[in-house]
Amino acid sequence: MNRKENFIAGFVKENPVFGLYLGLCSALAISTTLDNAIGMGLCVTLILTASNMIISAIRKITPDEIRIPVYIVVIATLVSAVEMLMAAFMKELYANLGVFISLIVVNCIILGRAEAFASKNGIVDSALDGIGMGLGYTFSLLLISGVREFLATASWTITNPFNNQSFCTLVLTSLNHSRFPCSIHQQVHF
């Protein structure tokens, strides 16, 4: 029960962006399109879960005085790995997110969770906390980018990051002969 509450808290009460005001830099700069939001959100979720698990696993052998440098090296290693993988397999997304992927290192959410949660709790709890917080971050990015993409292009597009083909597009088009001024058309490609 307690685990479930911890997991849910990341979405609403302790949502990193809207509730705790953490990770605002990337949240504001990245949230221009849904694709960027999903890519960035899942990246952060992955890194946050992995770093939470590693830091919780080594929490008993980490000396207290140098814990912050240790956390930062763990996080920087994970981010470098993810950055190289993205450069190899998701070229478009990598180009769109640009410097913000390497700036995940200094995202307050990750260091904050390492310090506040993973350094005091077990591996399973820390992993769940990482997934919950990461999805909460993704959720808030989706909300902001949903509004921003629609205002900018009057459509929503979701693209497959591996081959850069769009899965599904929702377009707002005007119909002259209709009683309603506009309607939403859905195009689904597979």
Binding site: I68, V99, S102, C108
Partner: protein, 191 residues
């Protein structure tokens, strides 16, 4: 010389690091409640960015490129920044205990201020010469200080204004920041 000057103006006003690039939002919202701590924070950030940029610049061109391990960039840079912030913290604690108290938790958090890592990385990706690097890593945090100071003045005024309950605190501060970004967009095309 004129190039360097226009580069500085562009970094301070046009491509302001907070308002157009969204870096360093956490201290921007966190330390801007009082004018005095805003100036202290801005000065500390200038010091950290200058120092960290110079060290990382020499480390990158001297060590990483020579050994052919440029992919270690991120890990090296963040370690340099973290230790430099630690150094700044001891420095401020010794010379100005009052400022040390008012900055509080935000001083060690300069490590996670993305502006510092961004400037260090930007100096490398833009292929700046040493002089250009110095100008860039001084004028970018100067823009940070300028905006942080203006914003803290606005927030001191907002504190005594009668705002609706739902808007109190961060929401109204974010609206004020948005209006300031709108004003700064007027500088576009200056250089």
């Amino acid at each position: 010389m004129a190039d360097l000057f226009s580069m500085a103006i562009a970094a301070i006003l046009i491509n302001n690091i907070i308002l157009t690039k969204f870096f360093g939002m956490c201290p921007f919202l966190g330390v801007s409640k009082k004018t005095s701590s805003a100036i202290g924070m801005g000065a500390a950030v200038i010091f950290v960015i200058m120092g960290a940029s110079i060290i990382t610049y020499f480390l990158y061109h001297g060590v990483l490129v020579t050994l052919g391990i440029e992919y270690m960039q991120l890990i090296t840079f963040i370690l340099v920044i973290a230790s430099f912030v630690q150094f700044t913290e001891m420095f401020i604690k010794k010379f100005s205990p009052a400022l040390y108290k008012s900055l509080g938790i935000y001083l060690p958090l300069i490590t996670t201020n993305c502006a510092v890592l961004y400037v260090a990385k930007d100096n490398i990706t833009q292929n700046y010469s040493f002089i250009e690097m110095l100008v860039n890593s001084f004028s970018v945090p100067l823009g940070f200080l300028l905006v942080l100071y203006i914003f803290s003045c606005m927030r001191e005024r907002l504190d005594i204004a009668s705002t609706p309950n739902a808007w109190k605190g961060n929401p109204v501060a974010l609206v004020a920041a948005a209006l300031m970004a709108l004003a700064f967009s007027g500088f576009a095309g200056l250089v």
